[in-house]
Symmetry: C2
Subunit: 261 residues, 2 copies
DNA sequence: CGTATTATTGAATACCATCAACAGACGTGG
DNA sequence: CCACGTCTGTTGATGGTATTCAATAATACG
């Protein structure tokens, strides 16, 4: 087995076999998450409204498209995909969410969630009832700013996706996704060059607007070129610079750098 | 000349030849714009921080990608496109903004604007300095909600765009854009079936991830099928139902209905 | 350990991009 | 007001990239 870690292995003082009820001030992810720039008192207030439940198993839903909107979710460990489905049955994955990222924001002030969110692996989340969060916004401007920051970051991510889907070749799309994941892993303390994909080839293809077969072929090509070493979902980036070049110096790399200054 | 109106013709008590300094409480767009659900006092406070300047001409910029972020902009009349450009020179249009819509939100809490915004025709906007807006959030929860509502709506729009670019054919993309514009015009009191496109074929193609030539061909095909009557930028939708079917019953149609319930 | 799902590979096809030529609209200045 | 050049839009011919269909291989799961 490779040494790349699964995101489900991330833990803020996770105690195996027990529901992890780690408070925000004990959580290692706090500096990257909502508590960022909150005072201790603010963190306590936020903490008091957060609902922590037992970890979700792969395939468990955070919410379904059409459900009444009531909470947003901060990913603690694991990963989530969100997707829309049209009445004609077309599915489109709209995003992958990693620890510290907020899922469900697009349902805000909307009666129902416009997407579904489902765990890609064993995943634990902090559920934040929106009504109570809204109330905290009055007392904690920094919290409000943090949520708005998350929303504008997600807007920028979608803008980048339009560039990806509008202009990039199949190879560039895969390269972009890998570079993007790499940066996000790195920011969270994981290896930037060796990780495990929690999504299937099918899900990657759907997300990037290409057929599964094409995803597979691109991975094969990248391996033959010596860019990657791939074993199923385990990926090692052998030539990060070359992969970034393939991805095409996109706005997203610039933005991620900006965000992590 | 056709009877379809240009968005630049929309006016809230616009006085020709003079800078329109119409206050929010006099503006016909208020019920669809930020003032929605504000008290009279709240509207006054918002009004006091809004900067109204002379109308932009076609090609004038609201802001450039990389400029220091300082304001968001509510479109009053006309229309705006926003786009990113990569360092390799690839351009991608990320959105078109119509009256009452807010441009610049993706730069929020980001040091610089991640996109450029430029007028597609004669356009007037309300500039809202973000620092001052932020301060108002404390006093006016409804204003804050309204801004967050705009952001989540924009998130949903991008989610829809992923479906469009990820799965839809060239014909379905054009149909989707036309149906989407149609609904937005209707909501703003314009004809849903007869309007003037303020963007070029090139801009449509870029936005939708397809070549200009393909845009042109699709328009020709739609005309031959009797779906549309097209004269340059003037478009009449002859068979709205058929066009919606072509668009593929998307999440966006559902959402727009939801939003305007 | 067997079955179902997921991933890979090959071959044929389709859709759209690209290249190229031309037509029309627009705007400027003579 | 017309001549001119430029930009935008249309149409045709061709080719490339990625999809689709099909079969096999590998993996996950009960």
């Amino acid at each position: 087995m490779s040494e790349s870690r699964n995101l489900a292995a991330i833990s803020c003082h996770h105690q195996p076999g027990k529901i992890s009820r780690v408070a925000c001030h004990e959580c290692g992810l706090a500096p990257l998450c909502l508590p960022l720039s909150l005072t201790d008192e603010g963190v306590s207030k936020l903490d008091s409204i957060i609902q922590r439940s037992r970890p979700l198993q792969k395939g468990d839903y955070l919410f379904h498209q059409g459900d009444i909107f009531d909470s947003v979710f901060a990913i603690r460990t694991g990963s989530i995909k969100s997707y829309t489905i049209t009445d004609s049955g077309q599915e489109q994955i709209t995003g992958f969410y990693l620890p510290t990222e907020l899922a469900g924001l697009s349902g805000l002030n909307c009666f129902t969630y416009p997407v579904s969110a489902v765990a890609l692996e064993t995943t634990s989340v902090c559920a934040i009832p929106y009504i109570r969060l809204e109330k905290l916004f009055d007392e904690l401007p920094a919290l409000r700013q943090q949520v708005m920051h998350s929303m504008s970051k997600e807007l920028r991510d979608y803008q980048d996706m339009m560039l990806v889907m509008g202009q990039k070749s199949a190879e560039a799309r895969i390269a972009t996704l890998l570079v993007n994941l790499s940066m996000r892993f790195k920011r969270r303390g994981f290896s930037a060059h060796h990780f495990r994909l929690s999504m299937s080839r099918n899900e990657m293809g759907n997300y990037l607007g290409m057929a599964v077969e094409t995803v597979s072929r691109v991975f094969t090509r990248f391996q033959k070129q010596g860019l990657l070493r791939v074993e199923g979902k385990d990926v090692e980036i052998l030539q990060p610079a070359a992969l970034s070049t393939m991805a095409g110096s996109s706005a997203s790399t610039m933005q991620e750098q900006r965000a992590s200054h």
